[in-house]
Amino acid sequence: MRLRRELQRLIDFSQDYFALFGLAPRYRFDPEQLERAYRALQREIHPDRHAAGDEAQRRLAAQSSARVNEAYRALKDPVERAQYLLSLRGIDALAETNTALPVEFLERELERREAVADAEATGDAPRLDDLLRTVRADGSGLESRLAEELDRESWDAARDSVRELKFLAKVADDIETALAALES
């Protein structure tokens, strides 16, 4: 279909997410620039802007808008962005062949998990809030390390950091679920 080919040129589905927003493929960037480019793109392609168009046009708009949403989400989140940058280098940070995490990290996290389980069992919401704060603080520390690793192109180190960050994100997620359960 001609229209589809035309669209693929304009929201080129083969170009990477950074190029889609006119950004250089680097971990550190100006989040404002990403947000501006995202909004400018959505202004053109969002289905609401094509509601009066014919069906093909509406379908194209939905498809392109979904693609831009997905790209924005992947770049906005620091961990997903790092993961995506690695994937551009052909590195799958979460491949099952790379399961090893440093022992000291695992030991610390095991303790943390126990603390979470205890607080959950006793319904201690303030303690859970505390734990959530420390997980997030540890996460931002790790993110700065990751930024440096990516800047000096230490891909293996960056991959390990991404794995640790993913782990922390899961812990934070679990704490949030526990908090939500306590609240309802």
Binding site: L3, A37, D48, R49, A52, D54
Partner: protein, 622 residues
């Protein structure tokens, strides 16, 4: 109003035909229809000047009545007078923890509860359609003709089944649904465009039966929902019920008849409303048994007995803030929506939580409908200069499929911006397996049994392979209405087997067609006339769009392409004035085809402009 001065650099000066578009707030307690007149959103009143339509349907001896006349039958005919039907939308009997609270005779239907009424079995979809039909007729009378389209609002926290049911009800009422719009988002549009606000706002929407909390970022004409949370079974009704239980307990009366239940519930509502402006109120009435209820209720007692309910609204507030990674201090303002936010204890709790007085400068009963009208106006193609705003909404609950062991694998996370498309690969677990059952669920819990089941379907024709060799790609697509469709495809060996489903909790297209026929919304000639009118509207829209495109971007076409478009355009113009809807449809389709590559090139040009910053510069001046 800086926000409204933003305009497209290439906005055309060619006037477009005005389309009849309305916004409808289909509420638990009251409903409303609104439209944009001369640039201003207004509610459309009934002949007696009342904007709100009570969401009450009575199936009487001489047919169905809706609104105020039905309210009069509330006490005298409780089992055939349906209130708060919104709480039943897309719900099975098992979902209704509070089923006993309703005086209706429930029966279990296919996926959704049904009601036995004098007029026969009715689904919540049909009851809602009665309300929507009255609003459609009111709007048609007021706007002087058939509607081109409507935006219907739903609670942001409605799941797929509830949304689908609402859309079905609107179609059944003869409405062309331009969009399902989340209620707090509709309120934010009305509020934001009115106040030229920038910043991060929370919309606290406590209606008659549903509660939503949405957090939005308003910036340079973009309304971006960051997170939403809520409870689709919490509202003003529950506060009435507390008073009702208190009254039964205090007056020591035993089980009461459905009629007396209704009477006491109405008294409870009056008492609640009185306590908005007074420190105490009377709760008095005579039951059908002759028993007298004479009680006094103070605001302090009312606040005390509803403390848990108030607390229940704050849990979603905390959840939404966490999801948006924000604290109460990051919120620039809390917009109050829904009649139930008039209760002083709610105002106090919200103010205390956010550390700022809530914003009450819009009518909480009307703001949702007005916002919907503004969105409908734009979607119908009446976008005027100053309407250059954009809405980015989210899906409220995660979507996933069932995997081994009855666990959920999330595919689309909650609060993802829509539209969204996401795929995940799965594999077979047995040698030679040729079929795979796919069970689509919605919810946050890990166990499938704790989530809402949306649809089940089977992918067949997988080529026999050893376990783990097949690659089955399951694709989820959520459109701008927040509605899901799912497809699955086997990827290896070049064999394609795909199936697409729509969640089946609602009604199939065939059901809708049958019900439309049964309820005789349109007689046959009516249908024919309607089809012709719709065809003409489509044609007019296309003519206007094409003319505008030619006026601004004709340089993208060579002479032959331009000639082709011009002649197709002339044909559509000629047939739009005639009475042959089939010929018109053919001509419209031909013009559509002729302009396809042109449309894509124009989109391309606009995107390049957007990316090179031209438009961004224009925007920052706004």
């Amino acid at each position: 109003m800086a926000l409204l001065q933003i305009s497209e650099p290439d906005a055309a000066a060619i006037p477009r035909p005005q389309h009849r578009a309305v916004g409808i707030d289909l509420g638990t307690t009251n409903s409303l229809v609104a439209t944009v007149r001369r640039g201003i959103a207004v509610a459309l009143p009934d002949v007696e000047g009342r904007a709100l339509l009570p969401s009450v349907v009575n199936y009487g001896a001489s047919g169905a009545t809706v609104g105020y006349p039905a309210v009069e039958a509330l006490v005298s005919d409780p089992q055939n007078t349906i209130v708060s039907v919104k709480r039943l939308m897309g719900r099975g009997l098992a979902d209704l923890a509070d089923a006993r609270r309703f005086p209706y005779r429930f029966t279990e239907g296919a996926g959704m509860v049904q009601l036995e009424t004098r007029a026969g079995i009715r689904t919540p979809v049909e009851v809602s359609a009665e309300i929507l039909r009255v609003l459609r007729l009111r709007a048609e009378a007021s706007l002087g003709g058939a509607l081109d389209g409507a935006v219907v609002t739903v609670p942001a926290y409605f799941d797929d089944a509830q949304r689908q049911a609402t859309k079905d009800a609107a179609r059944l009422a003869g409405l062309n649904v331009l969009r399902l719009l989340n209620e707090p988002t509709a309120a934010a549009i009305a509020y934001g465009l009115d106040n030229a606000s920038e910043g991060i706002y929370a919309v606290f929407d406590l209606g008659g039966g549903t509660f939503d909390l949405s957090i939005l970022k308003l910036s340079r004409g973009v309304f971006e929902v960051l997170a939403t949370a809520g409870d689709t079974a919490l509202g003003g009704d529950d506060f009435d019920h507390r008073i009702y239980c208190w009254a039964l307990e205090r007056s020591r009366i035993g089980p009461v008849s459905p009629a007396d239940t209704r009477l006491l519930m109405m008294k409870a509502r009056e008492a609640k409303e009185n306590l908005t402006a007074h420190a105490a109120t009377l709760f008095a009435g005579t039951l059908s048994t002759g028993e007298r209820v004479d009680l006094a209720l103070t605001a302090a007692d009312f606040a005390a007995m509803t403390e848990t309910l108030v607390g229940k609204t704050l849990a979603p507030v905390r959840r939404a803030l966490r999801d948006a990674k924000l604290t109460p201090r990051d919120i620039d303002g809390v917009v109050m929506v829904g009649g139930a936010t008039r209760m002083p204890q709610i105002q106090k709790a919200v103010g205390a939580f956010f550390g700022t007085p809530p914003l009450n400068n819009l009518d909480p009963d009307q703001v949702v409908g007005l916002g919907a009208a503004i969105q409908a106006n734009v979607l119908a193609g009446n976008r005027a200069e100053g309407d250059d705003w954009l809405l980015l909404d989210v899906i409220p609950l995660s979507l996933g499929i069932e995997t081994m062991g009855g666990l959920t694998e999330k595919i689309v996370p909650r609060n993802a911006t829509i539209p969204i498309a996401r795929a995940q690969e799965f594999t077979t677990f047995k040698d030679g397996q040729t079929a795979m059952a796919i069970h689509v669920v919605q919810g946050e819990r890990e166990k499938v049994s704790d989530c809402r089941s949306l649809a089940r379907f089977e992918l067949r024709g997988i080529p026999p392979m050893v376990a783990g060799a097949a690659r089955i790609r399951v694709q989820f697509q959520v459109d701008a209405d927040g509605l899901l469709s799912v497809s699955a495809r086997e990827q290896t060996m070049g064999v394609e087997a795909a199936v697409a489903v729509k969640p089946s909790y609602g009604l199939s297209d065939a059901d809708i067609a049958r019900m439309l026929e049964e309820s005789q919304v349109h007689a046959a000639e009516d249908m024919e006339q309607r089809a012709l009118t719709e065809g003409r509207v489509d044609a007019e829209m296309l003519i206007a769009a094409t003319e505008q495109a030619l006026a601004s971007d004709a340089d993208l076409l060579d002479a032959a392409e331009r000639g082709g478009i011009e002649s197709a355009l002339a044909e559509v113009r000629r047939l739009a004035g005639a009475n042959d809807r089939h010929a018109l449809a053919t001509a419209t389709a031909a013009l559509n085809r002729a302009t396809e590559p042109f449309a894509a090139r124009r989109m391309n040009r606009n995107v390049s402009r957007a990316l090179t910053g031209r438009k961004v510069d224009t925007l920052t001046q706004g």
